[in-house]
Symmetry: D2
């Protein structure tokens, strides 16, 4: 089962800047060989369900290891069985209607 | 790693009523032996990370099997390493300040 | 236009405990005369769109005034034109299928 | 109060393709003169709080007018008082740490 997610990980108890934690997650995603796109309020990732959610778990483990005692994350996750659809397809599908 | 999530699964392409799909997820959560609380815009679940996210995956698989060709899900997921905290603790912590 | 929302406000830069900020929001919601339900990962609110989102804005203003320099909030918002549906209806609709 | 949001509007009861509704929202955002960025799982918008949330309301009204009887939307909303930060700043801040 393929999935596209939007991942937004917020470490608490480490001050106001979250970018170094987001960057650490980005490395985990890349190391997993998953396609991703960073945007201003999260990161989109596409891949097989288990691989994608394994990355989400590793991001939590890494950010705790970096010193954040609490994390709250928002995830949107989309699956479909009618056809394959990539992140690029989704954006393209809107753009051709603009 | 313990996690508390808020899970909101939305099947697309099956009309307006989503309650039977939410009920099917509720059964999956119960069968997994996880503690959960239904609310008006989702279901909170607490447990070990792998057990909780296994349930999320099974919900997607089940809802597709029930005939929904597309699903979009919103998840909030919280972990903390400073102390144990249950769903009941979180609600209690706010209520004592009201 | 009636709306039901799920509101989860996270102040950053103020340590690990967020319950006093959630309690402050709860007072704002009550003062606005809106019906709400606290759960373990947010607060559900129902009412007219403008009244509900005015409360969301006031929560941000209040939490900044309490000293939080940064806030990240997750909102789910549902509207429907086919029929009236309250928060209680939504929960009931699932429970009768369990 | 400036805000950056991530907006993901899901019409229910209108089949599987949501791109034409997203495109209609995009026009509303543009007409409001707000800066936005489309991504694979939503649209980021920045601006003054009232202008941004007025657009969110107009999107719901428009999508109902287009024939969707039910809508469920996920919004992430960030405000900060310590400094100005644009959507571009947020992406840049992560990229320089990669």
């Amino acid at each position: 089962m393929k999935v596209i997610i939007d991942l937004c990980v917020i470490p608490l108890g480490v001050g106001l800047s979250v970018s170094k934690y987001v960057a650490a997650c980005h490395k985990i995603i890349s190391d997993a060989g998953l396609k991703s796109e960073l945007h201003a309020y999260g990161t989109n990732i596409e891949g097989e369900w288990d691989a994608v959610f394994d990355v989400v778990k590793k991001c939590h483990e890494k950010i705790h290891a970096m010193g954040a005692p609490r994390i709250t994350t928002t995830i949107k996750a989309g699956t479909r069985t009618d056809r394959d659809q990539t992140m690029a397809d989704k954006v393209e599908s809107v753009k051709e209607k603009l």
